[in-house]
């Protein structure tokens, strides 16, 4: 059983302790920043160098079904 004095002390420290708990989990992993995603090659004397890719957009990844259709 806490004495009234200890109780007041606990209430006073509670926000600090709770914030410690929250920080104890650390920051959530961050996605790569945009700079890391950029693919940079210089333009040539005569042309612009454009970076091109192609992808399918599937509403759910087919890999979830253990299949890879290519």
């Amino acid at each position: 059983m806490l004495t009234p004095m200890n109780q007041r002390l606990l209430y006073a420290l509670l926000p600090f302790l709770l914030s410690l708990t929250a920080l104890g989990h650390g920051l959530a992993p961050q996605p790569p920043n945009d700079e890391a995603r950029k693919i940079v090659f210089p333009d040539t004397d005569e042309h612009l160098t454009l970076v091109f890719d192609r992808i399918p957009i599937l509403y759910f990844p087919m890999a979830m079904y253990g299949q890879r259709f290519g």
């Binding site: 693919i39 160098t49 091109f52 290519g70």
Partner: protein, 322 residues
């Protein structure tokens, strides 16, 4: 990234019971809408998904994906298997013809795919030969995802096809390539006159591409040389306190260049092979013997290929500061 083509599988509908997906232009429309406030060029496309001899082909710069496949109406709802099998009964040539009628750029995907060639060695079928001859098949992937094919590279050179590299990613780039750890997706570098879809299309039809896969660059000499010249240059050539020339090679690209000096001048402190890291520079100490007013050195670019087993060379020059 400057441009992304959306190439949905036409014949595969793995979730047809839940998502009928009746309009095959929707994926492009959704992607284009999502990119409307960005600089990204979104290119409409579709993947014609057949067995050999046609195999898988992409058609990009299309007007209407729905005209590239045909499945008749049925009283019994299709499941994914019956849909695929029925779709495959429509001749693959019809799909290629329809794509070309729309002015599409058509290329053969992952030609070495194990389902078609268990030994990993692709063979150009009569179907492909005929379409190449008729100007209806314009390119071939030599890199797809985590795979690269020297045979596909050679097929491209032998048949005057554009060299293409794509991620074909089905999941997330961050999962597959870990850009935060320095990874990157395979891409095609397209040498265009302007930053527009129409200019990119013109460049693809003219085969002006280089593939960047892992840390290798693959392209025709015509396209690779200008890229290397734009990427690498000599800077700050000067004799300092000794009679050994100091010269810096700057690298303005995302590729780490692995170089071998072919110069008659020896290198001081470096062996003949060395790496110039991406967006970095490497200072060389060159034993020129007598002092020179300008320096020209030839290097073999060990990770830049103009044919499956043939790397290219680059010559760098600079005036020596007096």
């Amino acid at each position: 990234m400057d441009a992304l083509a959306i190439t949905e599988h036409l014949e595969y509908q793995p979730h047809i019971a839940d998502i009928p997906h009746t309009d095959r232009n929707r994926s492009y429309e959704e992607a284009a809408n999502a990119a409307r406030y960005s600089d990204l060029l979104v290119i409409p496309g579709a993947e014609i998904t057949r067995k050999m001899p046609a195999s898988h082909m992409n058609a990009i710069f299309i007007d209407d994906a729905n005209k590239l496949y045909h499945v008749p109406g049925s009283d019994t709802p299709y499941n994914s298997t019956t849909f695929r099998d029925t779709a495959r009964e429509w001749p693959a040539q019809n799909a290629v013809d329809a794509a070309n009628e729309q002015g599409a750029f058509v290329f053969w995907n992952h030609s070495w795919w194990a389902s078609d060639f268990p030994n990993g060695i692709p063979v150009v079928s009569d179907f492909h030969k005929q379409n190449i001859k008729n100007g209806m098949l314009h390119g071939i992937e030599i890199a797809n995802g985590k795979n690269y094919s020297e045979d596909a590279f050679q097929i491209a050179l032998d048949n005057d096809l554009a060299l293409i590299g794509t991620s074909d990613v089905h999941d997330l780039i961050d999962w597959d390539y870990e850009p935060h750890k320095g990874g990157h997706r395979p891409v095609t570098l397209v040498f265009a006159k302007e930053r527009s879809a129409s200019s990119m299309k013109e460049a693809l039809f003219d085969r002006r591409t280089v593939v960047w896969y892992k840390n290798w660059l693959m392209g025709r000499e015509r396209d690779l040389q200008p890229l290397l010249k734009a990427s690498l240059e000599f800077e700050d050539a000067a004799y300092q306190d000794a009679e050994i020339l100091s010269v810096t090679i700057a690298n303005h690209s995302d590729a780490d260049f692995h170089l071998r000096s072919l110069s008659p001048f020896g290198l001081h402190r470096h062996a003949a092979t060395f790496v110039v890291k991406q967006h970095s520079s490497e200072r060389l100490m060159v034993r020129t013997g007598n002092a020179v007013e300008s320096i020209t050195m030839e290097f073999e670019a060990l990770n830049a290929y103009v044919a499956p087993s043939q790397s290219t060379r680059i010559t760098l020059s600079a005036d020596v500061e007096q």
